[in-house]
């Protein structure tokens, strides 16, 4: 039983580690800058009205914008159009119909491969008023699912170098990776405790 348990542990450990590395490069949802999570509804947009948000940083690869919208709890169909402009240049546009309250994902085009600073305008192009969620201090929450992906093999060396600056890093460039090794050791120890308890 002990050998079988150890085998299972090793197998799961390898799979879990691979999954952990993979998921960590999959790019978290990226709110607009300054970041705002949808904490409460902060503004209403009536039919024909428009809400513009200046100085939004659009991450490279952004093909969708996600917002939390609500028709005030009423079962109505509403429609939103999104446009982003850097100066006079239109850098993205898209539109979407939605019903009641939900996270609305608006596909936008074109997709740029570099970061852009733009003013994003949200227009109500339907017949029902809706409200948008965000933070009362940071503004409406605009998120860019799937943007900002990177490869660990490209940046692993640089991360250690960058990590040691302006903080406590007793082992210099190795500090970040030693911290990860410490976490792995804690997991290994935890598995050891479970196996030992099971044997007893």
């Amino acid at each position: 039983m002990a050998k079988l348990t150890l085998f299972a542990a090793s197998l799961v450990a390898v799979l879990a580690l691979a999954a952990a590395v993979w998921l960590s490069t999959d790019g978290p949802d990226t709110p607009s800058s300054p970041g705002a999570l949808p904490q409460n509804f902060i503004a209403g947009i009536g039919p024909g009205q428009r809400l513009c948000i200046a100085d939004q940083i659009i991450p490279p690869g952004a093909a969708r914008i996600e917002m939390t919208l609500s028709t005030y709890g009423r079962p109505l169909v509403a429609a939103i159009a999104v446009t982003g402009r850097a100066g006079d240049k239109l850098v993205l546009a898209g539109s979407r119909r939605f019903r009641e309250a939900q996270n609305v994902v608006v596909p936008v085009a074109p997709t740029a491969n570099r970061e852009q600073l733009a003013t994003i305008c949200l227009s109500n192009i339907g017949h029902a008023e809706f409200q948008i969620a965000g933070s009362s201090t940071s503004g409406p929450s605009l998120r860019y699912p799937g943007a900002t992906q990177f490869s660990w093999t490209d940046i692993a060396g640089e991360i250690g170098e960058r990590f040691q600056r302006v903080r406590v890093a007793p082992f210099g460039a190795a500090t970040a990776w030693l911290a990860l090794a410490l976490a792995l050791a804690a997991i290994a120890l935890s598995v050891g405790i479970v196996i030992r308890t099971a044997r007893q």
Binding site: M1, T5, A8, A9, V12, A16, A20, V21, L23, S24, T25, G27, P28, D29, T30, P31, S33, P34, G35, A36, L37, P38, Q39, N40, F41, I42, I57, P59, T68, S70, G73, A101, Q102, N103, E115, A133, S135, S138, F150, I155, I159, E161, R162, F163, R165, V166, R167, V168, A176, A179, L180, L182, A183, L184, I187, S190, V191, I193, V194, A198
Partner: protein
């Protein structure tokens, strides 16, 4: 401890405010007051450190990166080496309404590191390490709690406790400077003490410890008060059990409860009104009682009940939409509990939360099996179960009560970490699932849970490195 090292300085929720509280308390001997509006929130030394790490432009901004070049380091060294005042901050800020117990413990580390000539960033690291020690204690108390709760399943305690200790959000908050850290330690200790008293009877010593933990929780963070109704119910049950068993041993625990309660409450009240010169009333509690509106919208009992329902359960068709998220239990609490980091600006990919939910569906089936198989024992422990349900309802109700008050004022409150008083019960549920798996499968399930949670932890750490340094 890995989280304490990896998370950049001040990039945990409200960490600058909590550090400022410790600094103010250690430097002046007095905690901050929410009424000191004219005093700066941060001292000159802390403000310089925040500038050195480019805090304002990096906080909650996923595209913002901390300083990472050699030139940045030289500039920061110059900034941090200036002998700036450390006692001119700690005015009204996000943490100034909190009671001072956690900050008093942290101030020992602050003074020790200050005596060794540490700068603000080094002091912050020392404070984080003290938080790590408290979080380790939390895990230990949860282990003891589950061992008392499920003595017939030896694997339940280590698996339950380790799955809490390895949870990335617990690691992230538990290694930051935040009074949630001590609150979760005290909550776990309270659950252990109560479970121990259920098993072995309420002794005078246990009664003193229970009262001490309750008062310490009161002196740490108001959300801890959500556990108090359940704890008081437990004490009543335990005393009744002693009386029904003959009453001989009732006098000493009862006397211990009264004396310890009087002494602890008296000491806290005396310190608060004397040395610390601050109110012991939880912030906003006058609003809770009087219903006076400090915000823009009207508050009402029906409004609160509707809000409470909508927050924890799906909204019914006739209810006015009061909550931004379609399913806050899922969006804020479940996802947050699994992992949301920094100033809540980055999290795991959306699909991962669905995978974890699927795992929890499986674990729930095992928990149900354990409860059905052990239903006879469960009936005999109905009182204990009622206590834990009351404690859960108390915390959930208090979160929503404060959340309702703040939301009607245009602000928001709820975060998954406010469920941390219930971490011991979370660990116990994991332990129950292990029990439900049966003797043959339990080791495999235990290993899978520990490794799965550990993988989330490593994923969170890697994601943090990617967020700030990629």
């Amino acid at each position: 401890m890995a989280w304490a090292v990896v998370t950049p300085p001040f990039h945990a929720p409200d960490e600058p405010s909590h550090f400022a509280y410790v600094q103010r308390l250690a430097e002046t001997g007095r905690p901050p007051s929410p009424s000191e509006l004219s005093r700066p929130g941060w001292s000159s030394a802390q403000a310089a450190a925040l500038r050195a790490v480019r805090f304002p432009s990096v906080r909650a901004n996923p595209r913002g990166k901390p300083p990472w070049t050699l030139l940045d380091q030289r500039r920061a060294d110059l900034e941090l080496s200036r002998r700036l005042a450390q006692n001119d901050g700690g005015g009204a800020d996000a943490a100034s309404t909190y009671p001072p117990l956690y900050y008093s413990i942290e101030s020992v580390g602050y003074l020790a590191s200050d005596a060794l000539g540490a700068n603000v960033i080094e002091q912050l690291t020392v404070l984080r390490l003290i938080s790590c020690l408290l979080t380790s204690l939390t895990t230990l108390f949860i282990f003891f709690f589950i061992r008392e709760l499920l003595p017939g399943t030896p694997l339940a305690a280590p698996v339950g406790a380790l799955s809490v200790g390895l949870l990335p959000y617990v690691g992230f908050i538990g290694s930051s400077v935040n009074n949630d850290v001590l609150m979760m330690t005290l909550s776990a200790a309270l659950f252990w003490l109560l479970a121990r008293s259920w098993r072995r009877g309420l002794t005078a010593g246990a009664a003193v410890w229970i009262v001490a933990v309750l008062v310490a929780g009161w002196a740490t963070k108001p959300i801890f008060l959500g556990l108090v109704p359940g704890a008081l119910l437990a004490i009543v049950f335990l005393l009744l059990r002693l009386r029904s068993s003959g009453g001989k041993s009732l006098t000493r625990p009862l006397a211990a409860l009264i004396i310890a309660g009087g002494v602890a409450c008296g000491l806290y009240l005396a310190l608060s009104s004397g040395l610390w010169a601050r109110s012991t009333q939880p912030p906003g509690s006058s609003d809770l009682v009087s219903g006076s509106a400090s915000g823009q919208a009207q508050k009402s009992l029906t409004g609160f009940l509707s809000y409470l329902w909508q927050y924890w359960l799906p909204r019914l068709p006739f209810m006015t939409d009061q909550v931004a998220e379609p399913y806050p239990l899922w969006e804020t609490m479940f996802k947050g509990f699994i992992g949301r980091f920094g100033w809540l600006e980055y999290q795991f990919p959306a699909w991962l939360y669905s995978v974890v939910l699927l795992c929890w569906v499986g674990l729930t089936a095992l928990i149900a099996r354990a409860l059905v198989v052990g239903r006879a024992a469960l009936r005999s422990r109905a009182g204990e179960l009622l206590v834990y349900v009351t404690m859960t309802a108390g915390v959930a109700g208090l979160i929503s009560l404060v959340g309702y008050q703040l939301r009607t004022g245009g602000a928001s409150f709820e975060q998954a970490r406010y469920l941390f008083p219930l971490l011991a019960l979370f660990g116990a549920l994991i332990g129950l699932a292990v029990r439900g798996a049966g003797q043959q499968l339990a080791p495999y399930l235990g290993i899978a849970i520990v490794i799965g949670t550990g993988a989330l932890d490593i994923g969170g750490l890697l994601m943090t490195l990617g967020r700030f340094y990629a």
